[in-house]
């Protein structure tokens, strides 16, 4: 029997992305029809349903093999500017999962705030951009989708307009983002100058014969890498991250540090794997995998070391998010001409999926704590488990999973990542990653210790249970746990999707 989606017109392959954009428009429509009354339940519901629908369609496509090697390979649209394949669907799944959890949690977080419809539609527009980033087949779409993801993000970080921290963080994020966009655009223009094309496939075939223009191509490639480093919060483009994550509303921190980072990796994976094949560029002296190896080591080390000395839990998580960008960069670093590149990159993709759950959950827990107005430092968390054991148990799951301890999803994903790096011959990257993981256990366990072992310093007045937040945190916790047994199929899907890029 022919699968259903092969009978559909090819443009339906971007249906997940379209669904996200459509949901954003529906939200705006609802708001313009009835701008005065706030219906938090309806808005959060629409956003959650839209993202769940996206998740369902993307998951269906992914399982049914749309755009994958089994059923005719990648689907190209608009002359190859958009590509739908395993990688783009995989990252759409990641983004949609995170958006669903964030929308669910925002229901409580945004209670009594104005501009709720704008909030949700901005989130979904950013998600549309992120989903599109994974599908970008040309450097022009890369830039446009990246900006589509970034611009709503700036506004979202500054969403708490009467909060100085939020506004300041939004401005800093915007400024650093502007610089990074400039770098990226300049890089794209240089690559265009050297190769004469923006389509990744054409770039790939032309870059090897750049000849005298190798310097231009090289500078362009490094600058493009810089633009992606901004999106993934990697050194030296990470400066915005701690500020933005700390100042932004906690659900937005979750959204940016999980979905936005994943999307940054999605576009980086595609552009570098497809556009600048290692076989062609390394002989010319453009060894971008070495570049990413350096970035990976510096990023994970800096992120983890800085996280170790924080007093503010949210800021600690922000730096830990920088550290995790370093781990995921291994997917771009542990590559070599003819090596098992698809396996390494696939492991990195799988890690980003698991990370989407555990990190979103951790930030949503922070959102819950902010909702309770408990405080921001480790000391403020002392003895929290006596009042909110279920939530603290979930947070413990996130912390240990982030640190990479069994029996949680983060253990297997990190293990697979390091294992594949070793298989690819990059044992030293894996070693640095393992040492950093050991260090990370220090600051993650500080949270657990504060919650479970320390005595409360004062009385907690938690008030009513935030249902949406609780549900979102629990979904994330269950996801983190379930990804341990389900990790096998996940990593296989990711690895076959990544292998298709290198083919």
């Amino acid at each position: 029997m022919t699968p259903l989606q092969t009978q559909l017109p090819t443009w339906t392959a971007v249906a997940p992305t379209l669904l996200l954009g459509l949901t954003a428009l529906v939200l705006l429509l609802v708001d313009s029809i009835d701008p005065d009354s706030t219906r938090p339940g309806a808005l959060a519901g629409i956003a959650t349903l839209g993202s769940l629908a996206t998740l369902a369609v993307a998951g269906w496509f992914l399982l049914a093999g749309t755009g994958q090697t089994g059923s005719g390979g990648a689907i190209e649209l608009y002359g190859g500017s958009l590509v739908v394949d395993g990688l783009s669907l995989f990252f759409t799944v990641v983004v949609a999962s995170v958006v669903a959890m964030v929308s669910l949690a925002s229901y409580d977080y945004l209670r009594d705030r104005t501009y709720q419809a704008e909030f949700y539609s901005l989130v979904l527009l950013a998600a549309t951009g992120m989903s599109l980033m994974g599908s970008s087949g040309s450097l022009a779409t890369v830039f446009i989708s990246l900006e589509l993801a970034s611009l709503p993000s700036y506004a979202l970080v500054a969403f708490l307009k009467d909060n100085r921290g939020s506004v300041e963080a939004g401005l800093k994020y915007f400024l650093v983002g502007a610089v990074s966009s400039a770098v990226l655009t300049f890089g794209i223009s240089l690559v265009y100058a050297a190769t004469g094309s923006l389509l990744l496939a054409d770039v790939a075939s032309a870059v090897g014969s750049a000849g005298d223009l190798v310097g231009i191509a090289g500078v362009g490639i490094v600058m493009i890498a810089g633009g992606f480093a901004f999106k993934t919060a990697s050194v030296p483009f990470h400066f915005w991250a701690p500020e933005a994550y700390e100042g932004a509303p906690a659900p937005i921190s979750a959204f940016l540090s999980s979905a936005s980072k994943a999307a940054g990796f999605a576009v980086a994976f595609r552009v570098f794997a497809v556009g600048f094949p290692l076989d062609a560029v390394v002989p010319m002296g453009i060894d971008w995998s070495l570049l990413f190896a350096i970035l990976a080591v510096v990023t994970m080390t800096l992120g983890n070391f800085a996280a170790a000395t924080q007093e503010n839990v949210k800021r600690m998580l922000a730096y830990s998010s920088v550290g995790h960008a370093g781990y995921a960069l291994i997917g771009l670093a542990a590559l070599s001409g003819g090596g098992p590149n698809g396996n390494v990159m696939g492991a990195s993709m799988a890690h980003l999926l698991v990370y989407g759950f555990m990190n979103t959950g951790a930030f949503l827990f922070i959102a819950m704590v902010e909702h309770w107005e408990v405080g921001r430092t480790f000391e403020d968390y002392n003895g929290l488990a006596t009042r909110a054991p279920a939530a603290c148990l979930a947070m413990t799951v996130f912390m240990f999973s982030l640190a990479g301890l069994p029996p949680f999803g983060g253990f297997l994903s990190k293990y697979a990542l390091f294992y594949e790096a070793i298989q690819g011959g990059f044992w030293w990257l894996a070693a640095v990653g393992a040492i950093n993981s050991a260090l990370s256990l220090f600051y993650y366990s500080r949270v657990v210790k504060a919650m479970w072992i320390e005595d409360p310093t004062g009385e907690f007045d938690l008030g009513a249970t935030p249902v949406g937040l609780y549900a979102a945190v629990m979904v994330a916790a269950v996801g983190t746990l379930l990804l341990l047994p389900a990790f096998g199929p996940v990593v296989e899907t990711a690895q076959s999707a990544a292998t298709a890029l290198f083919a």
């Binding site: 650093v176 400066f239 500020e243 453009i286 000395t309």
Partner: protein, 674 residues
């Protein structure tokens, strides 16, 4: 058809069930859960008897029941649980379940009637102990045997330390645990080595490790990994590693020191430990894998020498003890020495025979001693007893039956089996293995000492005039004490008749039923016949022609001489201590050859400084490095934090500088600007 073998797992599971019941609901049950234990062990006994009958009909059972670790692929090692029921296992099942049943019944008198507290814990311990030993007996592979072996050790720890509020029992329990664990350490290494060598640890059947070892020595085996050693040498090393566990559990020199201290436990537990479970496990293990040991004359020689030496060594120490249970403890060590001597000397049947008879007469003696201890209000010093013969006749006559068996006086059980052990050592020694003659000599001298200390104990306890008020008016004992004593008393007197080799040699009537029982079977690799061939082919044991009744007469004479000396010295109305006449030897014996002292010396002067050194290394180097790393990390972290100034123009500058640095480095490395 459903046969006995289908129910065989229940033999192990029933006592385990009673453990669970006693543990969970013991305090709500009458008698602290005793009846559950009695019912379970009775059930095990009935099933064991059924298995015994089925095995008698020429059947055997060797099946893997559960694979708990299986490697991927065909040719990988699998870790399994299974049952191996052959004549040896069937015999041992009967012994263990019978003794366990009697001990449970006896405990009603010793623990319940004496108003002890913590009875659910006690009966749970007994249940688990019995289950572990039964599991060990039926184990079909070495790893499963090891696991149950360890469980047995754990249970002995729990039960020896039953009265944990006193000072003695906990330290005795710890000692038992640690000393046997020292031996088990070697055993574990041996188990791993067996897996590494043969890829399997099965005792019997296709591709069992003794079979592969035999084929390897015969040169027809597929492949064994011997780690660069000649196969003979490597198999000897393996055998000796496993022997480490045996020496610990069966309390052989030099790891026997835990056993006398273990007398701190309740007396029924001592009976169980000494007769049927813990101590018997070691010897049973050697018998179980005798097909492996029979391939290595060196290992056999060491077993025989250790056994013979232990038999004599422990017997001498038993001579001077004041407490009734201490005498019995040393007699246990000594008797297991005989079994080891028998195994080492090629007397598989003889050793199994002695294991059988000893189980009954030693259980009897301990339970008898328990009855005496009840009567004496928990005073164990024999010098406070005397004259109990008239006041507790049932105990006296059954105890006498056990003593005659222990001393080896014809026709009681111990005579036949001990005599056969010595006979095997003698004939194989004369037949060209002179090493065994040394073992034989030591065993023979020990016979004299055994006779002496046994009857010293009997006379001091039961004969003469009562020496204290308590002994004049002892506490009575009930049916639940007398019943087990009578059963065991009869067995101690008669069980030897299953294998009367000297009588057969004299009269020509066929009387060696145990030989027949163990010689044949469906699993031909596990029969005494096969072991005999192995011993002849690989260990080069040959038998000299000595009449068994001559050897028997010699040992009987020595036993009688020992008993007679005891009679002269102690069977008087007012016996006095004669130990002072021994002079310096008395001190030596009384202090157990200073074995404890030298082991403590090793612990304090060798192990402790080493541990301190390791601790220093740990504290200084390892912790130092760890602490150093952590303070360096925190310092670096606080520095890295400062990069994040909060000023956005600094960020832009750093970002640009970083990108420029990357561009320059890669540009120069890649030669872009040339």
């Amino acid at each position: 058809m459903v046969g006995a073998f289908d129910y065989a797992p229940a033999i192990v599971l029933l006592p385990f069930l009673s453990f669970l019941v006693a543990l969970a609901g013991g305090k709500y049950l009458p008698k602290g859960g005793a009846f559950g234990g009695i019912a379970a062990t009775a059930g095990s006994l009935v099933l064991s008897a059924w298995v015994f009958l089925t095995v008698s009909a020429g059947n055997a059972y060797n099946e893997t029941l559960y694979t708990w670790v299986a490697g991927a692929g065909e040719e990988t090692t699998r870790l399994t649980f299974g049952l191996l029921l052959d004549p040896l296992a069937a015999m041992m099942l009967l012994i263990v379940s019978l003794v366990a049943l009697l001990v449970h019944v006896f405990s009603l008198g010793y623990m319940n009637d004496e108003g002890e507290t913590g009875l659910p814990r006690y009966y749970a311990g007994l249940g688990l102990f019995t289950a572990s030993m039964l599991g060990f007996v039926v184990a079909d592979n070495l790893l499963m045997a090891f696991m149950f072996f360890e469980l047995v050790g754990l249970c002995s720890y729990l039960l020896i330390g039953f009265w944990f509020r006193d000072s003695g029992p906990p330290s005795a329990a710890k000692k038992a645990f640690l000393v046997t664990r020292f031996g088990d350490y070697f055993f574990l290494v041996g188990v791993v080595a067996v897996f590494a060598t043969f890829g399997t640890a099965k005792f019997a059947g296709e591709g069992a490790f003794p079979v592969i070892a035999e084929e390897a020595l015969a040169g027809s085996a597929a492949e064994v990994t011997t780690f660069g050693f000649a196969p003979e040498t490597w198999f000897t090393i393996l055998g000796l590693l496993i022997l480490g566990g045996v020496i610990g559990k069966s309390a052989q020199f030099p790891l026997h020191t835990w056993l006398p201290d273990a007398m701190e436990g309740p007396t029924p537990v001592s009976a169980l430990i000494h007769a049927a479970t813990m101590v018997a496990a070691g010897v049973y293990l050697v018998a179980r894998m005798y097909g492996f040991y029979a391939l290595s004359p060196t290992a056999l020689g060491i077993i025989a020498l250790v056994g013979g030496f232990t038999a004599l060594f422990a017997a001498t120490m038993g001579v001077v003890k004041r407490e009734i249970k201490q005498v019995l403890a040393y007699s246990t060590i000594s008797q297991y020495g005989y079994m080891m001597l028998g195994l080492g000397a090629g007397g598989y049947v003889a050793a199994s025979f002695h294991l059988l008879t000893h189980a009954f007469f030693k259980a009897l003696l301990f339970l008898g001693a328990g009855a005496v201890i009840i009567a004496m209000h928990h005073d164990e010093d024999m010098w406070n007893m005397g004259g109990l013969k008239e006041r507790m006749p049932v105990t006296y006559y059954t105890f006498l039956s056990g003593s005659l068996a222990l001393a080896g006086i014809v026709p009681f059980a111990g005579f036949w089996s001990k005599d056969e052990v010595l006979y095997e050592a003698l004939v194989h020694g004369l037949g060209g293995s002179p090493l065994l003659l040394a073992g034989y000599a030591m065993g023979l001298v020990a016979v004299f000492f055994t006779g002496f200390y046994t009857f010293r104990m009997v006379f001091l306890t039961f004969h003469g005039e009562p020496r204290t008020e308590v002994a004049r008016d002892p506490h009575g004992v009930r049916w639940n004490v007398k019943g087990p004593l009578v059963v065991l008393g009869i067995l101690a007197a008669t069980i030897g008749f299953v294998n009367m080799v000297p009588v057969q040699d004299l009269t020509g009537i066929h009387l060696e039923f145990l030989h027949d029982w163990l010689a044949h079977g469906e699993l031909s690799a596990l029969t005494a016949e096969h072991y005999g061939e192995l011993l002849h082919d690989y260990a080069h044991y040959t038998s000299a022609d000595v009449a068994s009744y001559v050897a028997g007469a010699v040992s009987l004479a020595l036993a009688l001489a020992g008993a007679g000396l005891a009679h002269v010295l102690y069977n008087v109305p007012e016996p006095t201590e004669h130990t002072a006449k021994l002079g310096a030897v008395k001190d030596l014996w009384y202090n157990n050859y200073y074995q404890d002292e030298y082991q403590i010396w090793i612990a304090t002067s060798v192990v402790l400084p080493l541990s301190r050194l390791a601790d220093k290394f740990d504290q200084g180097v390892v912790d130092g490095v760890v602490n150093g790393v952590s303070s360096v990390s925190l310092f670096a972290g606080s520095r890295i934090r400062r990069i994040q100034t909060g000023v956005v123009s600094n960020y832009a500058a750093l970002l640009t500088l970083g990108l420029t640095a990357l561009l320059v480095v890669f540009g120069v490395l890649g030669g872009w600007f040339v």
